[in-house]
Each structure stands twice: as C-alpha cells, then as structure tokens.
C-alpha cells in the first residue's frame, strides 16, 4: 500500500513537471516565432517529398506483396504518428549523445531532485515534429474511404493503444543508445544507427527479405511501431500478437532503456572545469 502510494506520488510529480517544462518550451517558442515556422515548413516539405516518392513507386507497381496502394499509405501514415510523437516530446535524447554528456552539462540534472531521465526527456519540445504528425493523420484520413475495414470501438481503441506504446519503442531505443554516452562520452552515431532502422517501418515488413524482417521484428523491433498494429487494423487478424506483443515489446524496450540509463549514471565522469 505504501509502495503504491509512493508510486502514485512519483507519477503525479512527473506529470506536473512535464506540464511545467512544456509551458516553458511554449513560452520560448513565442520568443522565437520565425524559428518555429521555418522548422514546421521544413518538415512538411521533407514529408511531401517522401510522399511524392511513394506515389512514383506505386504508379508503376499497383500492389506490393499483396498490399494495395491505400493500405501501404495507411501503414506509412500510421508509422509517422508514433515517430512524430516521440520526435515531438523526447527529442532531447539526441543532445545527450552529442553534447550534454561529453561537455559535462549533465551535471545540472544530477543536482536536481527529480529523475534525471524524466528531466532530460521533458525538457525540450521539438515542434518540427508537428509536420510528421499532421502528415500522418492526413495520410490515414485520405485513404480511409478506399480501404475496406470493419471499424469498431474496440479496434479504434486498440489502434490508439498501439500508437501510444509504439511511441515508447522509439523513445526506448533512443534511451538505450543515448545511455552509451555515459560510458563512451558521445553516442550520437550509435543513436543515428539505431534510429535509421525506423526507416524500414514505413513499408509493409513483408516486402523485406527474412533477414531484415527478423531484424526489425526481434532485434530492433521497429516493425511493431507500425506494420504489426496496422495489420491488425486492416485485416482484424491476431490482435493478441499484433497489438499485445507491440505493448510487450514497448514495455521491454523502454524498461531496459530506463535500467541502462540508471546504470550509466554511475559511470558518468562529467568534464573538467
């Protein structure tokens, strides 16, 4: 009982701190409006060019390993949402790998009475990501009339649950790779390496050979950020695996990220001053 109460207190505090940090970030954006809009436009342009690419490919191939164009677009759109949420909320992990640890700026987090990982995660908002989110939602909406899906309340709920947990697959992989910097001082290359595998998730996992497919299912499980949940939504097949394992994988990846992070704190060496 005492344990539950202190856990509730911990979560309540995280929520409060998160709200305050987000408010700070919004105030900061108001100070730098131009920067904000340029970032948004930049990201929308990147997304449009990706989309154009997809259109060119599908104009020559109407179906892809049994997936029709609207279905592929759905998977693509779905993949952008958890990726965009992670990008929006937890982008600061990149800075941990590039400068925060190597320059000793991490000292600040350790002298404050809140969880260091939460502090780092909550501290920045990357609003460029709104481009990804808008594009993801727009793509899904645009193909809804063309895909024959039996919608039910349960299916929508499970879809949203998958999106939530998928976000933490991204965050978890980034946390794991960013933690390497506690031992190696810098880890931006490793974060990039891990994160690049997310590019495979834009398309149905079945188009890849066995090796890549197993890699993004079992090793760096990005296939659960879009493909498997989409399979469930589009076909209604096997929710236990497609959604259940997504949740499980998310908890495992994020959980190990948290553990490795905290092991890393002990190895942190700061920087001379």
């Amino acid at each position: 009982m005492r344990y539950i109460r202190s856990l509730a207190h911990f979560i309540g505090r995280l929520v409060r701190i998160h709200r305050i940090f987000v408010a700070q970030e919004i105030k900061r954006m108001v100070e730098y409006k131009a920067d904000f809009f340029i970032g948004m436009i930049g990201f929308l342009m990147v997304q449009c060019s990706n989309l154009l690419m997809l259109w060119i490919i599908f104009n020559s191939i109407p179906t892809l390993m049994g997936w029709s164009l609207p279905e592929v677009v759905f998977i693509y759109g779905f993949s952008l949402i958890p990726k965009g949420l992670d990008h929006l909320l937890y982008d600061n992990l990149w800075m941990v790998g590039s400068t925060i640890v190597s320059k000793g700026e991490f000292d600040k987090y350790l002298t404050r009475p809140i969880n260091t990982l939460a502090h780092v995660l909550f501290e920045k908002l990357q609003v460029d990501a709104i481009g990804e989110l808008v594009m993801g939602i727009a793509l899904i909406c645009s193909v809804l009339p063309q895909i024959s899906v039996e919608w039910s309340f349960g299916k929508i709920l499970l879809g949203l649950v998958s999106m939530f947990f998928s976000t933490y697959i991204f965050t978890g992989v980034k946390t794991l790779t960013a933690s390497v910097s506690f031992w190696r001082k810098r880890s931006s290359n490793i974060i990039t390496l891990g994160y690049k595998f997310a590019n495979f998730t834009k398309y149905p996992a079945t188009i890849y050979n066995e090796f890549i497919k197993n890699l993004i299912t079992y090793i760096i499980p990005f296939a659960f950020t879009s493909y498997y949940p989409s399979v469930y939504i589009l076909t209604g097949d096997n929710p236990l695996f497609n959604v259940g394992v997504t949740v499980l994988v998310s908890v495992l990846v994020m959980g190990s990220g948290v553990i490795v992070w905290h092991l890393g704190l002990r190895a942190y060496e700061s920087a001379g001053s």
Partner: protein, 334 residues
Amino acid sequence: MIEVANLRKEFKKTIKEPGLKGSLKSLFHPQSEQVVAVDNISFHVPKGEILGFIGPNGAGKSTVIKMLTGILTPTSGKCTINGQNPVVNRKNYVKEIGVVFGQRTQLWWDLPLRETYGVLKEIYEVDDKSYRERMAFLNETLDLDSFISRPVRTLSLGQRMRADIAASLLHSPKVLFLDEPTIGLDVVVKDNIRRAIEQINSQEQTTVILTTHDLADIEQLADRIVMIDKGKNVFDGSVRTLKSRYGQMRELNFVTESPHPAETLRYREQFHFAEDDVSVECEGTAVKVRFNSAVVPIADMLSYTLQTVQVSDISVKDADIEEIIRRLYMQGVE
C-alpha cells in the same frame, strides 16, 4: 553536518600515442590506465561554517566537489550531509544542497529570469508562501528586481552570477556549494557577491563550501581552509594557522633615490638566500623585496638595506595569503 570519509575516485584513462597512427593503434589495441584523482580525503564541516576549498589546477578539487554534490559516484569512501548519502538517495540528498558552478548556468537561457524561479519552485516543491518570502529575501540580498524581467541571455556576467546564486538558494538548502563564484567579475561586483555570501551565511547559518582561485575570496570569507594537492588532503586549518605555519615570507617595501637599487642591493650574496627565499622587484623608485624571515631576521634585512641605499618611506608587512599559496603550490607541501 558534512562528513567526508576516505573519499576516493579513480578514473580510467585511455593511453593514446600522438598522431593519426597513435589514434588508429588505440582503436585496435585500446590501452588504459587507472588514474587516482582523489586519494583518501576526509574532513568534517560543522553547520554554519564557510570552508575554503583550494588547490592548484588538476589537484582533484572539482572531482571532490562533484562527489559532494552527487554528480560523481565515489570509487570508495562516502560523504554524507545531515546523514543523507547521495549514492543511496540522490534526490533527498540534493534537496539539502544548493550548487553554483561559476562557469555554467542553470538558468533558462532564452526566458525572462523570473521564469527560472517559477520552474525551480516546482522542481524543489516550494510552497507559495515560502516562495514569496524567499524571493523577497533573495531580492533584498542579491538585488534581483532590476533585471528579473529580462531574458537571461541579456544579463551581464555579474547579474547572471547573482541570479544563479539566488536560484541555488530558492529551496533554502542547508549547504551551499560555490565553485568559482567570482570568476571573471570586476572588483566591485566581486565585493557585492562576497557580501551577499557573508550575509546569507550569517542570517541563515548556511554552510558554505567555496572553491576559488581568487584568494581574496578565501581571505575575506573562509573560516577554514582545506587544501588538496595530487588528490590528497595537504592542509586543514584556519587561515591564521596557514599563515603562521607557512607564512614566514615578509614583504619589505621602500622608496629610494639611489640609482640601480636592484644591482646595489645584493641580498642573495649577503645572506646566502636560497633561490625562492628572496625576490626583488623595482618599479621606478619603489622597491619591493619578498624574503623568508625564517632565514634572515627582519632586523638584519632592515639594517643592511638602510646601510646600502638612501631610503625614504620603508615598511614591512606580512605576506598575503596569495604569496603563501603560491609557494605551496610550487613546492608542494612536505
């Protein structure tokens, strides 16, 4: 209050030969050695004391401070404040302390200063009433009102330092760590900062641990000095003890009309001084002689000087702490 017992920190340092070849070699055959940055340091600080923590660059000062502030995990030994141990419960520990690193800031760079205090209030869970009282007190001591609405990036270094000290004190910590709080500041601002530190220490019985290279900070503020060198504790005592133990240096100042006083006054030959027991500086007609009064009594120095040159306005004074520390840093302490 603060108990530091047998604190030790080792770092692993990779050995790399110079040049590209060395870099490639270390890529395939990485070699590393254990470096002891802090070697068995122990001391105790009672409540309300201002402790000057000094030592030459690379002595392990920062490493000790970083272990005391919960940033680095000690290899062995421990430090506790009010019984709290940072290795066991970092969050409870850091609530007891405030930290200012002079070369870094913890303020929200792009926002008006006021916003930083608003966030820190939430981070440290300070209730509204204490927050108002606290801000009034800090404003009075550190005079924040004139710039509290300005974005932090537009503050001068002196204002930023005051703001940072206020930020570290918002949650009324029992212990305040100040790492180079006067670095890069002009004389007047330095003085203001020192006065503020003194005031906070006397009004609230805040224990202060101060590291600095400006020994005037130490002379004006510190009740006690702990000096470390090569990771070891080499001196622990009051400023007065330090002076009486090592402070045999005296400074002889006089004005002379005689030409070339430096050549005429041959202290070294006359008294057989060792290399760093005497030094002579001339600036126009003013001459400054530093000498070790344990080797030659002051009276002998005076009479020799008066016999050799025409002197007006002569005085002898104690060497300041800076001189003592300079000698200690250069020779090491036996």
